[in-house]
Amino acid sequence: MSAQNVATDSLELKPGLEGVIDDWSSDQRAFKNVPWGKAMMWIFLVSDTFIFGCFLASYMTVRMSTLDPWPSSSEVFALSFGGAPIPLILIAIMTFVLITSSGTMALAVNFGYRKDKRTTFWLLIVTAILGATFVGMQVFEWSKLIMDEGVRPWGNPMGAAQFGSVFFMVTGFHGTHVTIGVIFLFIMAYKVSKGHLDEQKPGWFTKRGGNYEEIEIMGLYWHFVDLVWVFIFAFFYLW
């Protein structure tokens, strides 16, 4: 019986700073009522923050160090509808889609804890489809940049070579995160529909008995990926 993952073993906790000090000076657990997987996901996300932080810091450094002019993002990322270019329209839609998926994810977590398998399943599927749509639009954006505008990782006709290098590297790395998330969302949806979480059937990744907190842990990752996108959006497209 893997009770360490079960949320029912909750303790009465003191509120506020005093409670934090109490928890950290106590035995057994520093974060009371926090399952192992969730603690691990949080620490992983901090580590991952350092990765994206390094990427963005590097982007700013090469943008300053290059001598060629940086291409104007509002022109490069514009789409034409009926002859008139609309700046940043694709990115606006992509951002909207991804942020919406955060909303459906949060709902899925909530319905999961209510053990409403059917609704949870569909919310996870919707989240995954929104994520996949985002990746699809990213593929479209990449192909447009590569085919129509001649942007390559090693150079482009508009200006600094680093524009393409950084763009493909950072959005590619973020897109990989989204793709991994989509895959796990589909797996999770499958597990929910089959009732694996009710039976506490061990998952293939951690080999610990499953339960509905897994959806929340999955959600942490998903919200993180969305949050990173907000920064990428701000630094790449608006600056």
């Binding site: 009770a3 073993d9 057994q28 657990r29 992983f44 390094c54 060629d68 590297m169 080999k207 610990r208």
Partner: protein, 586 residues
Amino acid sequence: MEHTAHDESSFVRPAEMGEMELYHPKTWLGKYVFCQDAKVIAIQYAATALAIGLVALVLSWFMRLQLAWPNTFSFIDPAYYLQAVTMHGMIMVVYLLTALFLGGFGNYLIPLMVGARDMVFPWLNMVSFWVYFTAVLLLTASFFVGGGSTGAGWTLYPPQAILPGTPGSQAGILLMLASLAVFIIGFTMGGLNYVVTVLQARTRGMSLMRMPLTIWGIFTATVLALFAFPALFVSAIMMSLDVLLGTSFFMPAIVSMGSEAEHVGGNPLLFQHLFWFFGHPEVYIVALPAFGIVSDLISVHARKNIFGYRMMVWAIVIIGALSFVVWAHHMYVSGMNPYFGFFFATTTLIVAIPTALKVYNWVLTLWQGNIHLTTPMLFAIAFLLFFVNGGMTGLFLGNSTVSMPLSDTLFVVAHFHMVMAVAPVMVVCGAIYHWYPKISGRWYHEGMAKFHFWTTFVGSYLVFLPMHYLGIMGVPRRYFEITGTTFLPESAHAVNASITIAALVVGFAQLVFLFNLIWSAFKGEKAPGNPWNATTLEWQTEHTPPQHGNFGKDLPCVYRWAYDYSVPGHEDDFVPQNVPPRSMTA
């Protein structure tokens, strides 16, 4: 384990969680190869690390042979020499010391010392080792590809690392970067496990401030690694793209060997900042577990509580935090803004405060202790000597103005070998001897151990002390040969030769050490469960070596800190952590 009748509920709170579910392997492969028991994973990590460390040891011999008797050995050409320098450094720092301290000691000691049955995610832990193993294979493969392994120096600075003329500038550097990236992925899997086990899976009564300092050191180092390795991961990706796709992250417009390279507008300093943002915490990733372990060795073998336990914990944490704001002291001569030098010199010198505090506390623990000069204790004392020596020269190099003339001389080599190579290796040896009876259930051979200690201790001094003088004389590091340089007297060459002889002897002593470990595992005398009369939980296990699940039917409860040695009014000179207050009779 002590099973006295007592009302434990008045001393420790009830369990918050149910028992950890253990995985029981059904096949031979699952039991010995893809094993999920942290103790087996620890031994796999340690064995792999020591094996690849042996390669690095041999590389250092080649390096020294060339320096002592230039051009006598036909197989050592300049390219080969640079490759030996590079791979020796990289293997020792990342693949030996990091993997051994965190993957080896971390895996073995964390669950046992905090009173857990295993790591929180054993399967992930197992994968972590095999990913690390893959990284080692990639690294080894780079010796055999065309052009050989990279010879860019362990810092892998671009532009030279990927320009023709540097050995291994094509396949060698790519395999190196791939190996590092894979290592980081594998480490992250293990590291998350270590951190969560310490934070969330301690036994009843084991508060953070009752943990042995060994665990504090390993825990803090793991946190550092989780936050520092990302910078190396990112720079490995960017440099690979520079090589593979011709991007220019780190590559400025440059004329290489008479022709213009195809790069433009990149920033080589960016790599140095990223590398050292990883590289400096890396020093503490190696040093902090050593600090922690040596505290326990000194306390156990001096039969005295550690002096200033809380200070020791906070010093570890503060050193860890400071390690993230000192990185550019490695870059005083890189051409960065000189004002940076001022900032980083200041933060660097501040590190000396908690570090000196630790040294004082170690010495004060020894003060009037009942010192047993066992092999682990000898190594612990040797650590103190090397560490103080290396720490002192750190003050020279941390000052930007003093550092300038010493940059890129053997003084730097002497400094970091003293402080982060020999000193932690002393702890590694001491710790292996200390826990050997628990891990193998047998005693190591005392004679071989003493021979190993004295040869390593005296020999390492003979290697690295003279290097300081050579460095002050201006002998540059990484040079293939220094013959024909008029500013160096003939005696400098004699010193170089004597260093090499000492290095060969020290290397030989390590072979004796490894032989001792293997031989004693079969032929050694049977060891009792708690041969050192130590207080921490790993010595209180039902079986020696501990079985899968570590403890017997019940997990131990912890009633006290880890340092109840020579408690006044108590019969024995130690009280194990799991002895309840009421059963403590005078």
